[in-house]
């Protein structure tokens, strides 16, 4: 149970070293290994979310002015379902996996045993401040590790609430929260972790991986990218529009790693698409979106300025066809649509992470696939079409962490799918069983018997031994017998 006075002390290199020493001691004691301990922690995590739903929603609203329903759907309910799944499956996940063995190692039996990695560090992001700290933690705890959480400092209310509630409900000898910004994170990164799980930008991802390299620490990096949405003309437009708009503006006003970043559609279809989008936006947010309570704010003035700069870029002036309203003092930014911005404009060369939606038009949709793949592999890519051929080409050609046909962002909620990036969008994956595996080492165990050893394995060597070895390694039982007969 942390004392309030401790949060006032500076968390420096010495504090990080001492924290690590303490956690290594508790981990070595074996406390986190038992099924009972893991279940107790997961149940208590569930209680945090159940008993403090209002506090959590208040904190997120204070930090991000996110509409309550968004916070509920995107953060609270996902954590609850992750806990439920982990509790239900933990027994199965913890069981060793028996595997077959071949004649090469006969007689033998083998299994793969899952064990925790040890003491792990989870660095959360600011856009889903509760989810991105606690969801990975569910995997880490289920896998039996000691955990340090570093929630994002850009959400001070949520960070502080996480620290308080984790300190109160979870076993603080094994699960700790360190709050802070660059200095504290750097101090943590100097330590030797058994795994680092990072959610955030590619720039910081590189720093995390470089720090991990000093200690040969494996990392999982959940980064971002420009998630494209390719829209065909043969679709049920109202449904598609809602899904695109929902994935964009109902996801923290576009500040989500899997939010649609830009749209690609045909020149012919664009007017219809734009029209439908405009109507939906008005239905959702009213004539003056800055007044709407259903739109999340931009997280801080730095990001606000960044987004404003994208719009003020010379190359995109005259391309803004909807929205563009902003309120700097209140960090409000309206859903904004741009049409056919140049490919070398700022807005097309960095992840937008905001409510700006460029629409690029092409003659044939397939032509856009190469352009998409040349931009670095995104975390997600979306396609709306009923054309089977187009679907298959898309799935075959486009490399992204996840692909969704005829929807956006939803794959995030499917726990049977691994969630993670590739290339610039990251490495490693989690959710469901993948979370458990992300924080486990799958140890091979081979049991050898004593009967029938081939002395062919050992020196002194000879041609006859070589024949037997060849038969053994090729897995050929007949070969082995022949070699043995030929031998004697």
């Amino acid at each position: 149970m942390a004392e309030d006075s401790e949060t006032k002390k500076v968390f420096d290199a010495e504090a990080a070293a001492s924290l690590m020493k303490e956690l290594r001691g508790t981990y070595a004691s074996g406390k986190t290994r038992s099924y009972e301990w893991r279940v107790a922690q997961l149940k208590n995590l569930m209680k945090i979310v159940d008993d403090h739903e209002k506090d959590i929603l208040d904190a997120i609203r204070a930090d991000l002015s996110k509409p309550e329903q968004e916070s509920y759907i995107a953060e609270i309910s996902i954590i609850k379902s992750s806990c439920t799944r982990a509790l239900g499956e933990l027994n199965r996940w913890m069981k060793p996996e028996k595997v077959k063995t071949s004649i090469t190692t006969f007689p033998s039996s083998a299994e793969i045993v899952s064990e925790p990695l040890g003491v792990v560090l989870i660095i959360g992001a600011w856009n889903f401040p509760l989810l991105l700290a606690l969801d990975p933690a569910i995997g880490a705890i289920a896998a039996g590790n000691a955990v340090v959480l570093k929630p994002s400092e850009l959400c001070p209310a949520t960070s502080s609430l996480i620290a308080k509630l984790v300190g109160k409900y979870l076993d603080s000898s094994c699960i700790k929260v360190v709050e802070g910004a660059v200095a504290e994170t750097s101090a943590l990164l100097e330590q030797k972790w058994d795994k680092i799980f990072f959610t955030g930008s590619g720039r910081v991802g590189r720093i995390v991986m470089a720090a991990a390299a000093k200690h040969l620490t494996p990392v999982a990096l959940e980064l971002g990218g420009k998630c494209p949405v390719v829209v065909d003309s043969d679709i049920n437009l109202p449904v598609a529009i809602r899904r695109i708009a929902g994935g964009k503006w109902a996801s923290n006003n576009g500040q989500a790693c899997i939010a649609p970043d830009y749209i690609v559609t045909t020149k012919d279809f664009a007017p219809k698409l734009i029209d439908a989008l405009k109507h939906e936006l008005e239905a959702w947010y009213g004539k003056d979106p800055l007044e709407s309570k259903d739109l999340a704010h931009i997280v801080n003035s730095n990001h606000f300025a960044r987004l404003a700069k994208l719009l003020d870029d010379d190359k995109v002036s005259g391309k803004i066809i909807h929205g563009g309203q902003r309120d700097k003092a209140n960090l409000k930014f309206a859903p904004t649509i741009l049409l056919d911005v140049p490919e070398d404009s700022l807005v097309m060369n960095e992840e937008i992470f905001g409510p700006l939606l460029p629409i690029l038009t092409v003659d044939k949709l397939e032509d856009s696939f190469d352009m998409i793949t040349s931009r670095g592999k995104p975390l997600a890519a979306y396609l709306f079409t009923n054309n089977k051929k187009l679907k298959e080409k898309f799935v075959k050609t486009v490399s992204a962490g996840g692909l969704v046909i005829n929807d956006t962002v939803l794959h995030f909620a499917e726990k049977t799918l691994p969630f993670g990036g590739v290339g610039e969008s990251g490495m490693g994956s989690y959710h469901g069983k993948f979370s458990y595996e992300a924080f486990s080492h799958r140890k091979s165990v081979l049991y050898r018997g004593f009967a029938g050893d081939a002395s062919a394995r050992y020196p002194p060597y000879s041609d006859r031994k070589l024949k037997l070895l060849k038969a053994l390694l090729s897995g050929s039982v007949v070969g082995v017998i022949l070699a043995l007969i030929g031998w004697s």
């Binding site: 299994e111 991802g205 991990a212 239905a283 996840g402 692909l403 799918l417 140890k443 049991y447 020196p459």
Partner: protein, 485 residues
């Protein structure tokens, strides 16, 4: 040796091969794997010759550890390829009907494989098999410390494989550094932890995922045994796992033995007798044991033995032949734990025996040291076996044998902690060079409008039910029969 300035055109050609989609075709992958099989068959004699030149290996050892295991792995990849390439369907909850989901193993693109000198063919081609089966373009950088092998690989690979998609780039540290500055979609490195750190740091610049197959001090715990044991078999396995594995220069070679002090004299006697039997009077001439790779490593090992506190512990062997880079099979009894022989990975034919009061003390001994690539336990005691598995951590654990786990395809081969991360062999090789692309297909026919704004309590109540898989509650709310607030 590759000219550093000329690398970029080569890499661009490899990237173009990948972009063209050629390497993703099953037919291409099969043809490459078959090419490797032919290479191994036709070049067998030359491979043996190169290994003899580089390491003084007997061809039986070369077959057992390299050519044979590679042949087995290629055959497995060929017969399993279709299965490995197929998508895996993922189950979805009812609430998402009529969606379908699958996970598709997709190649990463252009991969770099850096291999080590001790098993120059095995450690080069085993990952190449995985990379090709997974549909990638490949650059292989073999170790310059095994020049005959490196040169043979550089000569034969372009002849048997698609030279526009699989290249061998030879060279030393300078070439390695240059390669590391380029952008790869994956780097697979086998070697020591020091270079492993350099590789991962370079990879971080480009967010390139890496697999590091490193080393460590692999302990062999030797439980006392009664007469019911087949002592001869077990001792052979121990010695095979040390001196028989490239003269101990193997990441999974037994580094040192832990034994209960009362049993140590018996064990030592057995080891000495069997060493003489297996390796003979002149192991260098009979090639029953490999030689040390080069002068630098020879001197490193010689210095270990020259330390007076270590030298006094030699109980067998200890002879060194600098001209021929040969060190006899050497056994030591209880060298000081602070000496480098017990703090650094030995990687040579020196076998320390450390005695403990109780064999169970081996658990604490191992846990106070960095995690090894493998732990070997020679015992029939089921409790000890269970304790080792649950109370220690290592890449793998093998009971009653050593090294042989390398030949098994159904268990992953890789380290943890200081011994590395990532794994390969069998399907794990394929997985290491792919990423799992999640694909969710939804229908545009139905919709859960409660997902979207404008928000209200009704939608919230429905969402709560759906997310907790409370379908009945969901229905009630929908029908207006459940109160929501």
């Amino acid at each position: 040796m590759a000219e550093i300035e000329n690398l970029e055109p080569d890499l661009e050609e490899l990237r173009e091969s990948y972009r063209s989609g050629k390497t993703k075709e099953a037919s291409w992958r099969k043809s490459q794997l078959k090419g490797l099989l032919t290479l191994l068959k036709e070049q067998e004699k030359d491979i043996f010759k190169a290994l003899e030149q580089d390491l003084g290996k007997h061809y039986a050892e070369s077959y057992r550890d390299e050519v044979g295991t590679l042949t087995k792995s290629v055959n497995l990849a060929l017969s399993s390829l279709k299965d490995w390439m197929s998508s895996r369907k993922a189950k979805l909850p009812i609430a998402t009907f009529p969606s379908t989901a699958e996970v598709f193993p997709e190649p990463l693109g252009l991969v770099l494989i850096i291999s080590s000198w001790n098993f120059p063919f095995g450690l080069s081609l085993e990952p190449v098999i995985g990379a090709i089966a997974a549909g990638n373009s490949v650059v292989l950088k073999p170790s310059e410390l095994a020049p005959a092998s490196s040169s043979l690989l550089a000569k034969t690979i372009p002849t048997y494989l698609d030279k526009k998609a699989v290249k061998v780039i030879e060279g030393g540290a300078a070439v390695g550094e240059h390669l590391l500055r380029c952008k790869w979609d994956k780097i697979f490195f086998t070697g020591n932890p020091r270079v492993g750190r350099v590789v991962m740091t370079a990879a971080a610049n480009h967010l390139t995922p890496v697999t590091l197959e490193l080393g460590g001090k692999c302990p062999a715990i030797f439980d006392s045994f009664s007469s019911s044991w087949d002592k001869e078999m077990v001792i052979k396995r121990v010695l095979g796992g040390k001196f028989g594995a490239c003269a101990g220069q193997a990441c999974i070679a037994i580094d040192y033995i832990l034994v209960q002090e009362g049993f140590a004299p018996t064990l030592l006697e057995l080891l000495r007798n069997m060493t003489k039997k297996m390796f003979g009077e002149n192991p260098r001439e009979t090639k029953s044991m490999a030689r040390i790779i080069n002068k630098k490593h020879f001197l490193r090992l010689k210095n270990i033995l020259d330390d007076p506190s270590v030298q006094s512990c030699i109980v067998h062997g200890g002879g060194v032949d600098e001209d021929n880079l040969f060190i006899e099979p050497t056994i030591l009894m209880n060298p000081p734990l602070k000496a480098s022989i017990m703090t650094d990975e030995i990687f040579g034919p020196l076998l320390p025996i450390i005695t403990l009061k109780k064999i169970e003390d081996s658990i604490e001994f191992i846990n106070s040291r960095p995690k090894a690539l493998a732990i070997y336990v020679f015992t029939k005691n089921e409790t000890l076996k269970r304790r080792i598995i649950s109370e220690t951590s290592s890449g793998s654990v093998t009971f009653n044998d050593a090294i042989i786990q390398y030949a098994a395809d159904t268990i992953p081969f890789g380290g943890v902690g200081e011994s590395g991360f990532g794994r390969y062999h069998g399907k794990f090789s394929y997985d290491t060079f792919t990423y799992e692309k999640a694909i969710l297909r939804r229908s545009l026919l139905t919709e859960f409008w409660l997902r979207f704004p404008p928000w209200n309590d009704f939608k919230l109540a429905l969402t709560k039910s759906a997310y907790s898989f409370d379908y009945f509650g969901f229905l009630l709310v929908l029908l207006g029969l459940k109160i929501y607030s």
